[in-house]
């Protein structure tokens, strides 16, 4: 049998970009408490592409939002680049499932939004936005408003807008969840190309098993109620070549393994 689940490798601490240990999140409502996350520990290496995979309601988005600094942990530690996360920061860019383009700004102005806040000069802003417009293939739409764009294009702007801030980490919360199958595929390929070019550390949330295998080097599979990490899977197995599945058997084996995991 091919070993899919590999023993935990000891990682050089210098390489670690994100380190979460003993993270718990409890929501208190009027007459009951709900444990969204229980003792979650994970790490992401520098320039690594890691997916967090799990059923809806397993708290995977909560992990990401805590990482982004948009929510606070109940207990545990969340460190990015050695620093405890305290509130949102430009160092951690985020792409949401819902379209979050500023509709009153053009595509270019959207991409330049963060740079403008930082006070980058307009010439430099233009150079940077040119670069990212090209990276996501939207040069022709630089002066369009969000309403003229398709869902896939909007997400490409969102990715470009985050990257223009040169974040250390890119957090992606099911960014392709609302797209149709074809668009989704081309977006996944685009994201991989971008990742290879930009060498950003990416944490990707999804409930789509194929997507997580196709994109990531490692996958954390989660369990729901309370949300916790069930297994860490090494998925960097060169199953794809130029976006085509070449290792069908190994892919199926890995997929089956994850399906069983998710079923308990």
């Amino acid at each position: 049998m091919v070993t899919i689940v590999q023993p935990k490798v000891v990682v050089d601490p210098v390489d670690i970009e994100i380190e979460i240990s003993g993270l718990s999140k409890i929501y208190e409502t009027k007459n009951n408490t709900f444990q969204a996350l229980e003792d979650v520990s994970l790490y992401v290496k520098n320039e690594e592409f890691v997916s967090i995979l799990g059923p809806s309601g397993c708290g995977k988005s909560t992990i990401l939002r805590i990482l982004a600094g948009l929510e606070e942990a109940t207990s545990g530690s969340v460190k990015v680049a050695g620093e405890e996360v305290q509130g949102p920061s430009v160092k951690r860019g985020m792409v949401f499932q819902s379209y979050t383009l500023f509709p009153w700004l053009t595509v270019r102005e959207n991409i330049e939004f963060g740079l403008k806040l930082k006070g980058v000069s307009s010439k430099e802003r233009k150079d940077i936005s040119d670069k990212y417009l090209e990276l996501v293939g939207l040069e022709r739409f630089a002066n369009s408003y969000g309403k003229e764009l398709s869902g896939g294009m909007k997400q490409r702007v969102a990715i470009a807008r985050s990257l223009a801030n040169s974040p250390e980490v890119l957090l992606m919360d099911e960014p392709f969840g609302a797209l149709d199958a074809q668009t989704k595929q081309s977006m996944q390929q685009l994201l991989l190309d971008i990742w290879k070019k930009e060498k950003t550390t990416i944490v990707f949330i999804t409930h789509d098993i194929d997507e997580s295998i196709f994109l990531s080097q490692r996958i954390y599979v989660m369990d729901a109620r309370p949300g916790k990490i069930k297994e860490e899977i090494n998925a960097d197995l060169q199953l794809f070549k130029n976006g085509e599945l070449v290792e069908v058997d190994r892919f199926m084996k890995l997929k089956k393994h994850i399906i069983t995991l998710l079923k308990h």
Binding site: R65, A68, G87, P88, S89, F102, W104, F113, K147
Partner: protein
């Protein structure tokens, strides 16, 4: 069976679907035509006495006559002035308060429950009180319009602000915006088109309260014009007053609609 005809009927009775433009225009014209037909019918054949229902041509004649008199334009001018002053006053104070209430939960606790409470008090009931406090001058009339618009405006602006997607705000935080920047660079620009629609509605309210204010204590303005006509059983002039207010409302409403389209070309699904 005639198939094409059947198809037209099916298309005209489809739920929430578009209908051909000419059919829509047909509906608009027919209702106005019917209105005039009934009106004309009742008044010309004298089913209703002319004192109560003047004939359409008498009203049109009277309207033309009124437009020819400078005195009538003064009535229009003073009414427009009162409406805009009351409306602007409500906007200047109400919009910032509404944004505040829609942005900060703590501010909401000060502003919203109180506004909810007062808005159910009819503005017309405040008139005696306003007359005691502010007399019967311009201030009193502007205050009536202000009270009628202000509390509604706060509630609607707060609601508009509250409806701005939270993800939009979260995205701005991750792009490096601080709270002040989120308010001025995200919340306010996102709010503007909705705010214009709200102002358009509130403007309608302002005209309603204008008439209320002028019916009670005034010696000029369109409300007074109507009131005076009633005293002399001059129903033609009552019609003229009502129609002119309607026309002014329509003009202002169209101006808002056009401004909305021109100022916010980026709004999804048009305006």
């Amino acid at each position: 069976m005639n198939l094409p005809k059947n198809k037209t009927i099916r298309s005209l009775t489809s739920i929430r679907e578009e209908v051909p433009k000419k059919w829509y225009l047909f509906g608009v014209c027919i209702t106005f035509l019917l209105l005039f037909l009934f009106w004309g019918g009742f008044s010309f054949i004298n089913i209703v006495d002319e004192v109560f229902l003047p004939t359409p041509n008498a009203v049109v004649f009277s309207l033309a006559h009124s437009f020819g008199s400078p005195e009538f334009w003064e009535h229009i001018g003073i009414s427009v002035y009162r409406v805009f002053m009351g409306f602007l006053l409500a906007c200047v104070i109400g919009i910032p308060l509404g944004i505040l209430a829609g942005t900060f939960k703590f501010a909401e606790s000060f502003i919203l429950p109180m506004s909810e409470f007062i808005r159910y008090m009819p503005a017309a009931a405040f008139i005696p009180l306003i007359m005691v406090w502010a007399g019967i001058g311009e201030t009193a009339k502007i205050l009536v319009i202000f009270i009628g618009c202000f509390f509604q405006l706060i509630l609607m602006v707060a609601d508009d602000t509250n409806r701005i997607s939270k993800d939009l705000l979260y995205a701005s935080y991750t792009l490096g915006a601080n709270r002040t920047q989120v308010i001025f660079k995200v919340i306010i620009p996102a709010l503007l088109p909705k705010l214009m629609t709200t102002l358009r509605l509130i403007m309608g309210w302002a005209w309603t309260y204008l008439v209320v204010a002028e019916l009670v204590a005034a010696n000029n303005g369109l409300g007074y014009f109507i009131m005076k006509a009633q005293r002399f059983l001059d129903t033609e002039s009552i019609f003229v007053g009502i129609i002119v207010i309607g026309l002014l409302g329509l003009i202002i409403d169209r101006a808002f609609a056009i401004a909305n389209k021109k100022l916010f070309p980026w709004v999804e699904g048009g305006n």
